[in-house]
Symmetry: none
Subunit: 243 residues, 2 copies
Amino acid sequence: LKGVDLDRLRVVLVSTRNPLNMGAAARAMSNFGALHMRVVNPYDVAFREAKSAVGGSPVLKKAAEFSTVAESIADCAVVVGTTAERKRDLQHTLRRLEDGAKLIRSALRRGRVALLFGSEKSGLTNEEMGYCHWLMRIPTREEHGSMNLGQAVAICLYELVRDTKTTTVTKRQLAASADVERITAVLFGTLRASGYVKERIADSTEQKLRRLVRRLNLAPDDAVVLLGMLRQIAWKVGKGDTK
Amino acid sequence: LKGVDLDRLRVVLVSTRNPLNMGAAARAMSNFGALHMRVVNPYDVAFREAKSAVGGSPVLKKAAEFSTVAESIADCAVVVGTTAERKRDLQHTLRRLEDGAKLIRSALRRGRVALLFGSEKSGLTNEEMGYCHWLMRIPTREEHGSMNLGQAVAICLYELVRDTKTTTVTKRQLAASADVERITAVLFGTLRASGYVKERIADSTEQKLRRLVRRLNLAPDDAVVLLGMLRQIAWKVGKGDTK
């Protein structure tokens, strides 16, 4: 992975209820190399269940359990809470994930950072937020702000590891897929009639051709012109055959 | 939301098996304002179940169902596949999500874009990838690359809507002009032999053709393959004539 090392990150799940969410969070953590999970006051049965699941995540199996937020973050230099709120009378600085992630990356170079996720139902309580240096929210739309826990964890970790450098973009209008497919079909038919296609591997040749035609990134007008040309050639090739 | 409008995005779930994953994908879509889901060849029982779930997502309830990838993307100008692979002998351009998202945002300003997610077990098949213009992968770590479907959808959509303030330039390797010219010459000869070219305006037709071929921005390997195809067709057309 490019970007930051997440070895100093502690993902803290507070009062999580659903074992599936714990499993999903653990999987995303493993995907992005954040291997240290902490759980605070989990619903006991769910936690045991998730921890012992056959084929379960190693991240979850070695998750550390705490009974209070205070204990869970005691060794962390920076504590960040996540929230879906944007209006509630928050006593804390609220940052968008894109901005908050920069601060977290920077803090991880110097010490441990705790990232807190509240319960599925109500998020972090005011008291739990009291342990946070600041809060962060994922930029969801106002009409439906609350995210699934496992997805929220996944997105936060992705933002931390994503490549912050950039490369980019050409702008061009492209032909509709249906036209691109027509071109592929006519060209393939003509190639077949011309003896280019080995019947034994015809399917694979067709797939290669389809990819090649797609890579052309044809503009809409060009697609029309090209299709006209190919149809004329196909007609000629077919005519040759019947002679 | 800042950034792009996802109204032209079609999230296409191909051969999804688990109704929980469909529900999770739909929820993330709603979080980020991507409201148009398409499903191809879903496991029927799971799809009905997910669609009719009490309290289920409106996105899922109005998901459109298709029996083939070809039909599901027919009205889309750009088709992007997602994959966890990084080494497999991929025939397609493979972009990191950070880079791919820029191209998608740009394409969404001009037309519909389909974003394909394969089955939980094996991802997109080679044949399904054949319908894609290029592929995209989330930058997970090598030891654990495969993501949960709902989380993968969530992360891709987040990257599309996240606040960006950067730009740059890409360079793609292009075929040598000599090869591009050979393609033009062979194609023009074949078109002439097929009766496509009006002799009175032959010069202007040749020039138009030359510009069209240049606009294809052929990669070096593709130019070689295309030239081979066209020569075979030219040979067949010529042979037909001499009979």
